[in-house]
């Protein structure tokens, strides 16, 4: 059905389009009432995001409570997740922080107890996962070479050549460093810019289609 004959979609498209236009023009450094409207819209978006996050937390918690209740496969992991969720929120709100006059509760979830929790528990876990990427890369390279994919062979060859020519002993050979720099500045940057321009055009068209109401990923029809 045409958008003009569907009032629900039309009103949503007008609201989204006008709001999007205000924020878009604000990127150009516009001043006056338009800038104030854009600022207000961005603040509203932040509030809506916070509400969405709350709904998301409830969804995650509900899903895992259900898993624990029904003793589905791997339910102990769900229990760990729920305990982690409750403890982080509890510590972030109720952990007493020493002050010069006694104790006070944290003013936000970015305070010391949460930061310490993340530094001691989460960051080592994330670093371990990042370290795994080296082994996963090797495994992916071997599989791609076994598959005989032309693109994969080019990627692996270029990666190996770049790794080798960056060795100090190889860079010391006259002409190697400057050739590498030239390839990096012209061939690699040209390819990256081509990809970027293509993606930017796709993004621009996607954005305008959302503003005009041709694509409405936000509407609940």
């Amino acid at each position: 059905m045409s958008i003009l004959r569907d009032p629900k979609r039309l009103i949503a498209a007008i609201i989204a389009g006008v709001a999007g236009l205000f924020v878009l023009v604000d990127f150009g450094g516009v001043t006056g009432p338009s800038a104030l409207v854009a600022e207000l819209l961005i603040e509203w978006a932040a509030v809506i995001t916070a509400v969405a996050l709350l709904i998301g937390i409830l969804s995650v918690a509900g899903s895992h409570v259900q898993r624990v209740r029904l003793r589905r496969a791997d339910w102990p992991f769900s229990l760990v997740l729920l305990l982690g969720l409750i403890s982080v929120i509890g510590v972030g709100i109720f952990f007493p922080l020493p002050t010069s006059t006694g104790f006070e509760l944290p003013s936000s979830l970015a305070e010391v107890p949460i930061r310490s929790f993340f530094r001691t528990v989460y960051e080592p876990l994330a670093a371990s996962l990042l370290a795994l990427l080296a082994f996963f890369s090797l495994s992916a390279v071997l599989r791609a070479l076994g598959r005989g994919s032309a693109e994969a062979i080019v990627i692996v060859t270029v990666a190996v050549v770049v790794l080798i020519v960056q060795l100090p002993i190889v860079t010391a050979i006259p002409g190697v460093g400057s050739t590498l720099q030239w390839m990096n500045d012209y061939i690699a940057v040209a390819g990256a810019r081509g990809l970027l321009i293509g993606s930017a055009i796709g993004a621009l068209v996607a954005g305008v289609r959302v503003l005009l109401g041709f694509d409405m990923p936000y509407i609940d029809r």
Binding site: A45, I48, S63, L129, A206, R209
Partner: protein, 266 residues
């Protein structure tokens, strides 16, 4: 209200793109559909949709670990996420029509809500409301790509899947997901615009959409003419950019000989 030259330029550019979008929308509705080059990655997706209906195994769909509203300073971009959401909506619609179950995951609360709406809507439009299960649209993390990647690998481990569609905003965390899927012989259809994830995707699976192809994916998955208009607009703008680049190159060569001023910004 004071409009800066940048704001005027943005408005003019927007006006041109809006005009082209309307024009191409009208053209496609009139039956002038664009000729499309083949995208083999999407053939694999169609095959997975057909097989999913027979085997009953779910098709995993993800728009990535990016954020809606994520701009400068954040890894994901809103445009990539919208491309991922459009593709997810289209795949969910096809799944609802042919009876293949879906499992949708994301790492952004706003994207999660949009996905819930899109999937529910897809089942409603297909007249299969009773088959919609809200628990199959899952928020696995919030703005944390590594946590999201481990969540997806847990999904891979927990249940047999027909295929996994990972089109949208991905970075280096893709390797954790993609390699796990490849080791399980899970067909994966992937795509992004980021230069970090693209080589990893090419290594992991042959079904890779590169750069702007993720914005065209939705047009390939739907017979609706309005979605084809996107391809016409993208092609027209790409032609304009190529002409501008070539024109600038020729001008740059000729300017010193003809005594012309250099182009601004060069």
């Amino acid at each position: 209200m004071f409009l800066t030259p940048e704001a005027v330029l943005i408005l003019l550019l927007t006006l041109v793109v809006v005009s082209l979008t309307w024009l191409h929308h009208a053209r496609t509705l009139a039956g002038h559909l664009p000729a499309r080059r083949p995208l083999p990655a999407l053939d694999a997706l169609r095959a997975a949709l057909a097989q999913g209906a027979e085997t009953g195994r779910a098709l995993h769909i993800s728009p990535g670990a990016g954020l809606i509203g994520g701009g400068e300073g954040t890894r994901g971009t809103t445009a990539e996420m919208i491309a991922g959401l459009n593709t997810a909506e289209r795949v969910a619609a096809e799944s609802a029509l042919n009876g293949a179950p879906v499992l949708v995951s994301s790492a952004d609360a706003v994207a999660h809500l949009a996905l819930r709406g899109a999937v529910r809507q897809a089942y409603q439009v297909a007249g299969q409301t009773q088959d919609y299960d809200a628990s199959r649209v899952q928020l696995l993390a919030q703005s944390d790509d590594l946590a999201y990647a481990t969540g997806v690998t847990a999904l891979y481990a927990r249940q047999p899947l027909e295929a996994s569609v990972l089109i949208g905003s991905f970075g280096q965390e893709f390797l954790l997901i993609g390699e796990d899927g490849a080791q399980r012989d899970l067909p994966q259809v992937v795509g992004t615009t980021g230069t970090v994830a693209l080589p990893l995707m090419q290594l992991t699976t042959p079904n890779t959409l590169i750069g702007e192809e993720i914005f065209a994916a939705e047009s390939y998955l739907t017979p609706q003419p309005s979605a084809q208009a996107r391809l016409l607009t993208q092609d027209a703008l790409r032609t304009v950019v190529i002409v501008l680049v070539l024109g600038g190159f020729v001008y740059g060569l000729a300017a010193p000989a003809l005594g012309l001023p250099p182009l601004p910004g060069l």
